[in-house]
C-alpha cells in the first residue's frame, strides 16, 4: 500500500513538473494554441507529441505484461461504445477549455501558486463534477431505463 502511494505521488510530481516545464500550466499559452485568430503558439502540439512519444511504446510494453508491478490486475476503461454522452460531454469540456484555457490537470497544479481565479475555476469544476455524478448521470440512467421499458 505504501509503495502504491509512493508511485502515485511520484507520478503526480512528474505530471506537475511536465506541465510547468512545457508551459501548459499557463492558460494564456493554452489559449495561444486554441485561438487561431491571434499569434498562434504551437507548443501544445509539441506537448501532446512528446507525451505520445513516451506513452505509445509504454503501452506496447504494458500489453506484454500480465499485471502491473504493484497490483493484481490492470484497471483499464471497459467502455467501448461511442455514444451521445461521450460526444456531448467532450463538446462541453472543449467549450469550457476554450473559454478560460484551463483543463483539470493544469488548474489543479496551478492551485499551488495561490491565484484567486484558479481557486474559483477548481471550485466550479468540483461543483460541476459532483452535480454531474449526483444529478445528471442518474437522470440520464433513468431516461435510458424508461426508454428501454417502453
Amino acid at each position: 500500500m505504501i509503495a502504491r502511494l509512493a508511485v502515485a505521488l511520484l507520478a503526480g510530481v512528474l505530471f506537475g513538473l511536465g506541465l510547468s516545464l512545457s508551459g501548459m500550466v499557463d492558460p494564456a499559452r493554452v489559449l495561444g494554441f486554441l485561438n487561431l485568430a491571434g499569434r498562434w503558439d504551437p507548443s501544445l502540439a509539441f506537448v501532446l507529441g512528446g507525451a505520445l512519444l513516451v506513452a505509445v511504446p509504454g503501452v506496447m510494453v504494458q500489453r506484454r505484461l500480465a499485471r502491473p508491478v504493484l497490483d493484481e490486475q490492470f484497471h483499464l476503461p471497459q467502455a467501448r461504445a461511442v455514444d451521445a454522452r461521450l460526444v456531448f460531454g467532450a463538446a462541453l469540456f472543449g467549450i469550457g477549455w476554450g473559454l478560460a484555457g484551463f483543463c483539470p490537470g493544469p488548474a489543479l497544479a496551478a492551485l499551488s501558486l495561490g491565484l484567486a481565479p484558479v481557486v474559483l475555476f477548481v471550485a466550479a469544476m468540483a461543483v460541476g463534477m459532483v452535480a454531474h455524478d449526483r444529478l445528471v448521470a442518474p437522470a440520464i440512467a433513468r431516461r435510458i431505463e424508461n426508454h428501454q421499458a417502453r
Binding site: R4, V7, A8, A11, V13, L14, F15, G16, L17, G23, V25, D26, P27, A28, R29, L34, A37, G38, S43, L44, F46, L48, G50, A51, L52, L53, A55, G58, V59, V61, Q62, L70, D71, F74, H75, R80, L86, A90, A91, F93, G94, W97, F102, C103, P104, G105, A107, A110, L113, P117, L120, F121, A124, M125, A126, G128, A131, H132, D133, A137
Partner: protein, 135 residues
C-alpha cells in the same frame, strides 16, 4: 532551451508520469477521473497522493529552474466560473479530459478517446477563436 524543446520535454514527462502510474499501479493517469473519484470518495488515498504530487509540481519546478512557472489568467471571473462548471460536467459525462483521452486514450488507440479528443479540440478551437475575435 527553446520554447518548443521545453514543450516537447515537458510532454515527455507527462508521458513518463502516465507510464509510471500504468505499469506501477495499473491505473490510468486521467486527471478528471482521479479528481472526480476522490470527490466521490473512492480510492481516496492513492488519488490524494497523486494530486498532492501534482500540486507539488510547480514549486518543485520553481526550486529547480529558479523561477515559478508563469500562470496568466486572461478570462474574467464570470467566464472562469462558467468554464469551471462546463469542464467539471463535460469531463465526467465524456469520461475524461486532455490527459485520460488525449494522452492515454490516444496511446492505447482507443476509438472512444480518438472521437472525444477530436470533439473537445474542435469545440476548444472554436470557442477560444470566437472569444479571441470578440475581445
Amino acid at each position: 532551451m527553446m520554447p518548443w524543446m521545453q514543450a516537447l520535454a515537458g510532454g515527455m514527462l507527462l508521458g513518463l508520469s502516465a507510464m509510471v502510474l500504468l505499469i506501477g499501479n495499473g491505473r490510468i493517469a486521467g486527471i478528471s477521473g482521479i479528481f472526480g473519484r476522490m470527490l466521490d470518495g473512492s480510492q481516496v488515498a492513492a488519488n490524494a497522493a497523486f494530486l498532492l504530487g501534482l500540486l507539488a509540481g510547480p514549486p518543485v519546478f520553481a526550486a529547480l529552474a529558479g523561477h515559478p512557472p508563469a500562470v496568466v489568467v486572461q478570462a474574467g471571473w464570470p467566464a472562469v466560473l462558467a468554464a469551471g462548471l462546463l469542464v467539471g460536467v463535460g469531463t465526467r459525462m465524456g469520461g475524461g479530459c486532455t490527459s485520460g483521452h488525449g494522452i492515454l486514450g490516444l496511446a492505447r488507440f482507443s476509438k472512444r478517446s480518438m472521437v472525444a479528443t477530436g470533439v473537445f479540440m474542435a469545440t476548444g478551437f472554436a470557442t477560444a477563436t470566437l472569444m479571441g475575435v470578440l475581445r
